[in-house]
């Protein structure tokens, strides 16, 4: 099946972005409206395609559109082609739907910013790139979107780049992403060298013929790419700093969509990972490590956005873990991705709303008792909170519990380890999210006189409310009759029949709920009972200090990569100047030296020159004499 409308999904926001960038200040008055309209237009096209897709039979649902031949050299043939299947449509709707809501939210949130038009241009650019990422029909097309969202993320993190730390955060995000991109490009190269193609369909077709080694290499490289983009261990360090961007950006890019691209990539490449168990195991391990890593960092953060960012990292860890569990987990990974898209975006918007009312204060120790002043924000945030900690019947309960369950059922030591990690993560999640809610909305007022907490305007709370609806209902909708799992079945391989379940689903749910309640209780005991100090206490255990320093991720990167890089750079600078250019200059010196030595023969007296001529003539005659001998 082909469709002629796919390109407009991308073209609309791209056009909006280009127009807003090129029009400059002239578009300041209507720029935000155009941006929102373009995003909304894309959403409508997405809905139209979705309705068309629903009307077709299961194996007819995927549609493609070939635009033109993009790169064609020898056997390396890449078309500028788009493909919309059951997996992509989930993303398209999430991106354009949540994206449009966040556009609307931003109209109000950014209304005081002089550069609001530029902000919308970047947002539109992001939407276009993200859509290209999920719509591309080959790894190379995906790569374009992949780096495109990286660029948009860079631009948006550094939106207020007049602050040097924000600019540094943007650069850090881009560089970390580039490390991941390196993995993606290597994966593409290996894929072309072994399979002779880079399109999804081609790779899927030939993957069975390739050696496991090659597929494992591709898989590992794809995982590297995913860790970069999705802030997974060990390339996770950029996400916390990325909160420098305006809050809607954090909601859209660094919670709902872009950071989940890694999960999309792994799910999309299921045919590779399923044939390369080692790579798949690596994926699961990385996911498990990150979900704990992020959760631990989340417990120590006082900055509301950074706490949410750590939570995002942790939740994506769940998704990656799910995707790493193979056919059993893909659908749940995607489900968690979608539900997370709703509740985390909602919570970020809530955080933005709080900041909006609190004069851009982000330190939760300066909040407290805000539920009275911001009831709607509190309500939407609270719904998101219930969803993320996995209280039934909210969305998170369905998706997260399923992943834990699948993890336990992966079998053997692997299953128990991963499952326990996921369970522990759930408990910690409950703890730190409760902490966030208590510090922000409960307890006594701790803000200073300047702040005048107030509810946000309708343009801001309506998107929040809609997302809250999603946080409540999406989980039930997706699991009702295994709707999402069946929907995705043609893309990701069907899970094989459960063989000897380790734990029954009910047991997992109960276990998880108990642990969640434990976490919540601990947080309540710790933060409700006593007064929260305005400045974080310093006499804390080494564990807390390490957690506050993001588990030393930056220290490690600085010591190992930055310092080494700087040393190499300065060493090479010296090498270049003294050795390589030194050799060149040495030759020059040699020539000059021999020149000045010979210069002494130049006395300036004509007669001495004449003598040299005479001596030269003797040499000539002597040569003749010898030759004719």
């Amino acid at each position: 099946m082909t469709s002629n409308y796919l390109v407009y999904l991308i073209a609309l926001p791209l056009f909006g972005s280009a127009l807003l960038l090129f029009a400059g200040r002239k578009a300041d008055k209507w720029g935000h409206l155009l941006g929102t309209a373009m995003s909304g237009g894309a959403f409508i096209i997405g809905l139209y395609e979705f309705s068309q897709m629903l009307g077709r039979s299961t194996d007819q649902r995927a549609v493609t559109q070939k635009l033109f031949s993009w790169i064609s050299v020898g056997s390396f043939q890449v078309d500028a082609g788009l493909m919309l299947d059951q997996l992509s449509i989930c993303f398209v709707l999430l991106i354009t739907g949540v994206g449009t809501l966040i556009h609307i939210y931003s109209i109000a949130y950014m209304s005081h910013d002089l550069d609001r038009r530029r902000f919308f241009a970047y947002l539109n650019l992001f939407i276009a790139a993200m859509l290209l990422l999920v719509l591309g029909d080959s790894y190379l097309n995906l790569y374009v979107g992949w780096e495109g969202v990286g660029l948009a993320s860079y631009l948006l993190i550094g939106f207020w780049n007049q602050k040097p730390t924000y600019a540094t955060a943007a650069k850090k995000a881009f560089v970390a992403n580039r490390v991941g991109d390196m993995g993606l490009s290597l994966a593409i190269m290996i894929s072309f060298a072994t399979l002779g193609t880079v399109s999804f369909s081609g790779v899927k077709e030939h993957a069975s013929q390739a050696s496991t080694g090659a597929l494992t290499a591709i898989g590992i490289m794809l995982l590297v790419a995913a860790t970069g983009k999705s802030a997974q261990f060990p390339l996770q360090a950029w996400l916390g700093d990325a909160m420098a961007g305006p809050t809607p950006v954090s909601a859209l890019i660094h919670a709902a969509t872009m950071v989940t691209a890694g999960v999309y990539l792994i799910t999309r490449s299921n045919f590779i990972f399923d044939a390369a168990p080692t790579a798949q195991l690596c994926v699961a391990i990385i996911g498990a490590i990150t979900l704990l890593f992020g959760a631990i960092i989340g417990t120590a953060k006082d900055d509301i956005k950074k706490a949410l960012a750590a939570s995002t990292m942790s939740q994506i860890g769940y998704m990656v873990l799910g995707a790493g569990l193979g056919p059993a987990g893909y659908a749940f990974a995607i489900m968690h991705l979608l539900t997370h898209g709703f509740f985390k975006a909602g919570m970020f918007l809530g955080a933005g709303s709080v900041m909006h009312g609190m004069d851009d204060e982000v330190n939760m120790r300066r909040y407290g008792g805000l539920s009275k002043f911001m009831p709607i924000t509190f309500a939407t945030f609270g719904l998101g909170y219930l969803a993320i900690i996995g209280v039934p019947p909210f969305a998170g309960f369905y998706s997260k519990d399923k992943i834990i369950e699948v993890a336990f059922n992966a079998g053997g030591i692997k299953g128990i380890t991963l499952g326990c990690a996921a369970l522990l993560g759930a408990a910690i999640t409950a703890f730190y999210m409760t902490r966030v809610v208590i510090l922000t909305f409960a307890g006594s007022k701790r803000w200073n006189e300047k702040a005048h907490p107030h509810e946000s305007p309708a343009l801001m709370w309506i998107p929040m409310a809609l997302l809250a609806v999603g946080s409540v209902a999406s989980g039930f909708i997706f699991t009702h009759g295994n709707s999402l799992k069946n929907w995705l079945a043609p893309v990701v391989e069907q899970s094989p029949a459960h063989e000897g379940e380790l734990l029954k689903p009910a047991v997992v749910s109960v276990l998880a709920l108990v642990l969640v309640l434990l976490g919540v209780g601990l947080a309540v005991v710790k933060y409700m009972r006593k007064e929260i100090p305005l400045v974080a206490p310093t006499d804390v255990s080494i564990f807390t200090r390490v957690a506050r320093r993001d588990l030393l991720q930056d220290d490690f990167n600085e010591a190992v990569f930055m310092k080494t890089g700087q040393k190499i750079t300065s060493a090479l600078l010296v090498t270049d100047k003294s050795i390589i250019d030194g050799a060149v200059r040495g030759v020059a010196k040699l020539v000059r030296g021999s020149g000045s030595a010979l210069r002494t023969t130049q006395t300036g007296f004509v007669r001495s020159y004449a003598m040299w001529i005479l001596i030269g003539a003797i040499g000539l005659v002597a040569a003749i004499w010898v030759v004719t001998l």
Partner: protein, 99 residues
């Protein structure tokens, strides 16, 4: 007598001229020595013409004479110019090339 004797004379005269060019300091005498060398060469040309039985050597000698004349004219003009500004015809005084 062998016609090659003329060549020996030519070689001797050439050598004497060469020594003169190097040793003498008066620019005019240096020039005379150059003329002597040219003449020595001419003698060789003429002798070779005779030995080989064709006139090309003589033509060459003729050209040499013309070139020598040109050289003398220009050279002496230069000497006059130098003398006018430096009051000396010594070649050692004109050693500005060094600087």
């Amino acid at each position: 007598m062998n016609a090659a004797n003329y060549l020996y004379v030519s070689a001797l005269l050439f050598t004497i001229g060469a020594i003169g060019v190097v040793v003498r300091r008066n620019a005019i005498v240096v020039f005379m020595c150059v003329e002597l060398m040219l003449n020595a060469a001419n003698l060789a040309f003429v002798t070779f013409a005779r030995i080989n039985g064709n006139l090309d050597g003589q033509v060459m000698a003729f050209f040499t004479m013309v070139v020598a004349a040109c050289e003398v004219v220009v050279g002496l003009a230069i000497i006059v110019t130098i003398y006018r500004s430096r009051r000396s015809a010594s070649v050692d005084d004109a050693s500005l090339l060094k600087r």
